[in-house]
Symmetry: D2
Subunit: 366 residues, 4 copies
């Protein structure tokens, strides 16, 4: 079940980096949603490389096609098949990638698990696979917004040792998109960009932290025990390439507070039960409490660097390896739309599950 | 599906804090595993309160019963039903809990989601539910160890602002159990205990971080894309009460390194492909690489404190609340066996899935 | 996943014939459903043996207990654990069952699959396991009726070579229950009873066919392609012990008609799209069409007979076996409430899934 | 989940009759299986129309493409995406299909469920969707055969009122394919062909029964309780368009026997526990017993007939409808490879599940 995600709004992802294409099938999408290829293309364009001076200069068009599930401009409730076909399957020289395991990549583990691996451009383990997630997530995001006014917003919180200041709240998408590093705090963004260029010139790479916020989430989504909203978000985020951590609300810092300081007091605000602080991050007991959902994801520095590294060959000999060509010195900015996509996928699924359990069978109450 | 966990080794949890009991049904357990109630009781005894001066003084026997699935001392491959019946369903006064939402608890969200909640002792949202996890995890842990020699070891890394020093490696269980705070570094443990007593006397609480390590894990477990080993671990950990974060390997700190420093170089060691460092935490591309699995979980300070807190009532009026009776000032030490249990459940499931895909149908290779 | 059934309204069954008890955990039940033990007991009483002269004279009380998920008389949306504990775990002599495989039972296949089996009274393969299904089904049936007015009615259509006449429509439950054979056509019922007594006196057994009808089903339940309503019903029915076939609407007989005779013409009736015949059995394209749901299930003659039979021993020697004690010469009448239970479980799950996809996210239409 | 099938070997189907194409994504396929497009094309060619004088004369090429999951001629263990693109999306006049509900088709129920339907050629409800099943099934069938020597063989048992004689055992594929009606009894086949031509000339249609047998199945596949092998086969078969019934072994006829006649006595044969008869159809207690698996599926007469039929329009008016063009007067022969495909999909999934539970974790036995 490794390439299928979700319970009711299910996506099935396929494709390799240098194969015929990347695609996704959405099963369980609500009917009657207006949907065009440009709805999805817009999200894909935010994900693809070559967008700015700080990302990889490869320019890929990544044009999406809707192959099924939409009729006369609307979803029909049947599977939506989306595909991005590779325009040119580059005939690079992969001899070195075939023979040597790239450090901190998936080359060795795929080989061990399956006894075979598609080594061309990383095959299935390439971050190009996230095209499928972004495409499906764009559909989910549109439904959340059209039907419920729910908005998902991710942005870069830190790059390497450069942190954006606290208190960015829920930034406008324009603010996020205004710099190539996708940090809405412009002064910090400039320093981040400088740092990325610096490590790039050294043939090195850096990582960072993305924060994601959700506005307009109703109370009651998520479930007790195993399928807590934050548990499914954690799984979704840790399923992304290069992620090493997830935290919700106060996160790891919260462990250094006392309970009386950490608790979120309730108060009535405009006739609604609200909290005066939001260290819970919008979930209590695994269920949304009506406050903003807030979580962060740690992305390690890109594993591909031009510096020389020690490794071993497939035949078990110690050797060395240095990446050729140009590579992304920092994938974090490009991961912003991917984080939003996975968030939307988790939310729509939980929304459907919540309604199935609590609204499908109303019981007359005395 | 909120109370069912796993794909092949599936557990179904039930029960409320002050109801008739807590239990779990394991579906898909391998047959022919020697299993007695004392195998499970041992794990439960590590979880239960009243073990030491720093935990809640309530003494609960929590005696487990095997209700099905074991015949003449061995598992039969059919569902194993385990139950811990409550000996006395205490007739406490729950009037206040019925009327007021405890801050940073699940009272409000359960009420919003379902329109009803079992408020006695927290009902389903009580940490007493983790009895089910520990009982099922004990079975998984026994199988991992007997069949594969895999060992799971969790311990307390930090309490409040007190951190254990780096480099604890894989501590012996005896070292972990030697102090009530379950930190194997004895000097640190003493300071942690002092801090817990201090906040307890102030009617307050603290949180902390648990680290979990797994030794003996084969290469190849875990899957590409959505069901990465660390993704399923993240979900498992964030499904635990009071958790706010998860990180694997270098985690959030790793985002502050450069790629060339962060990557784990491969080398041949004793004829085996190994890494010289382990910032990956034992997984690459979602699949185990043969190194020790290492991850950490953030637990917030206990929400129940004796200090007075602002909150609202069910009828929507601002009010105040202070917990009565004695409560755990720090749940982190008791969460150690729970973390181990969830880890074992994730691992056995992935082990079964790995073998299903790669070993059930061997294809003759030319 | 063999003992878990359902997608959203999920049940997890456990227990063996002569073990400590039989039980079931329901995950995903809607909240606020009034539920008492007697709601469930009523269904169990219809299932249990010893009800009449034609069933096994063993009298089992099978008293059900609600162990969780109900608070102050209503479901809370959390798991409902139901258990029937065995009052006396009889100390019969099972030496012969341990050593010899009963023909057309599951003794041999369980032994082959697992290398171990609970041979006491058939263990997990005993029809006593259906207690779990009936208990869970009673909850589903109550919800379907209270919330939507949906009624499920099964009855005996044939026993051995004795068929009830066509045209019984939707019989009243009283009519079904008026004879121990649960055939609402009283004259046929008498002949069936006579036949059952006859084979019983010969130490033999007979099978038969149950028909099940559902009234009040809305249009739109069920899904295209794999999760057709009739596909999930077929699975549910073939999962019952002793079943050998399933047919919906015209069934196997329908294969002997021409298309022009077989098709169900549509017509407007009382302003509603209706069909003039119902050879479709209430489903078209896997989705309910608003007509009565009609399907039938074939039950083989009970495998346990007092007549002497050839078989082999566990050690691989040819031998003979004759059942001792008194056994049900015909399980078909007792299977009626079990068929109803499984039907209710399939329907509530599909109702929840339908609602999740089509109602949770309404999209404003121009 | 309506378009996803399977637990470990999972397929995700997409596409509409007159859309851009039909496809399927296989998740969980074992690695290192040699696989080419022609392996799959062969099965698709058996399914497609235009093969003979008795099927629809439309000639569709249905050329399959492997879009992912195969590298240097072998499966890699990652998702296999298969697609058949429509060569010409015919610009037929669908005005009548848009306005009128075809009797005993899915037009009305799709419209009711989703509020929208792709009416072009039946859209998602078209039998053309089975291309996805046959393509995925071909992969499963190849693995079953290469790895375990398991063979799946379906054939036509009856057409309308014409039955093949009993005792056809396990026919050679050549015998099945030797006539366009896919009945291996040549004399019966001729009569079937004549009947089909006769009804075709009357603008009418007929149905029939397919029998499927599996040779070489190991003991132990399938599970107790809900996921019995025959239960999952029943679901798979009833998920096919136009099916109305399923029976295994003695089936409905078996209900007319006594237990002592119906039971399959065990005997030792060549050192192996065997049965002297096979009324069980190869499964006992839901688990394969080493005998041939035998089951039958009822297909109703094709709903599309040229004769005039009563129906209603989308706007709720009584009207009439007669199919134009040429249509398959009998789909049963073309359903033979589809039945084989679904059977292979169920078997490989159960094989993987069996292995996961019983072989992944061997426990040292004293």
């Amino acid at each position: 079940m490794s390439s299928i995600f979700g319970t009711l709004f299910r996506i099935s992802s396929w494709g390799e980096s240098h194969g015929k294409g990347i695609g996704v099938v959405i099963d369980g999408c609500p009917p009657l949603v207006p949907l065009t290829e440009s709805d999805i293309q817009e999200a894909l364009d935010r994900r693809r490389p070559g967008q700015s001076s700080i990302t990889t200069p490869r320019s890929e068009k990544d044009g999406v096609q809707i192959l099924s599930g939409v009729f006369e401009g609307k979803t029909t409730g049947t599977p939506i098949s989306l595909a991005v076909f590779n325009e040119d399957q580059r005939s690079s020289d992969y001899t070195e990638m075939r023979e040597k395991f790239r450090p901190s990549h998936a080359d060795f583990t795929y080989q061990e698990k399956y006894g075979i691996r598609d080594y061309a451009g990383g095959g299935r383990s390439s971050a190009r696979e996230t095209i499928a997630r972004v495409a499906a997530g764009a559909v989910a995001e549109k439904i959340l917004k059209m039907s419920r006014g729910i908005e998902v917003r991710a942005f870069v919180r830190s790059i390497h040792e450069i942190d954006a200041p606290e208190g960015l709240d829920f930034p406008a998408r324009e603010a996020v998109e205004s710099t190539p590093v996708r940090c809405p705090h412009s002064e910090t963004a400039e320093r981040m960009i400088a740092r990325i260029k610096e490590v790039r010139d050294q043939g090195d790479s850096v990582g960072g932290v993305i924060e994601c916020r959700v506005k307009g989430l109703p109370t009651g989504w998520g479930s007790p025990v195993f399928d807590r909203l934050e548990a499914d978000l954690a799984k979704a985020m840790l399923s992304l390439p290069a992620t090493k951590g997830f935290e919700v609300g106060s996160g790891f810092e919260g462990t250094r507070m006392t309970g009386s300081d950490h608790n979120d007091p309730f108060e009535m605000r405009g006739g609604v039960v609200s909290t005066t602080t939001n260290r819970s991050g919008g979930v209590q007991g695994g269920i949304s409490n009506g406050e903003e959902l807030v979580f962060r994801i740690a992305f390690k520095p890109t594993a591909t660097v031009r510096k020389n590294q020690k490794t071993v060959s497939r035949s078990g000999e110690n050797t060395e390896l240095a990446a050729k060509g140009r590579h992304d010195p920092c994938v974090v900015p490009r991961a912003v739309p991917i984080v939003e996509a996975m968030t939307a996928l988790v939310l729509i699924d939980h929304g459907m599950r919540h309604h199935a359990q609590t609204a499908a069978f109303a019981i007359p109450q005395e």
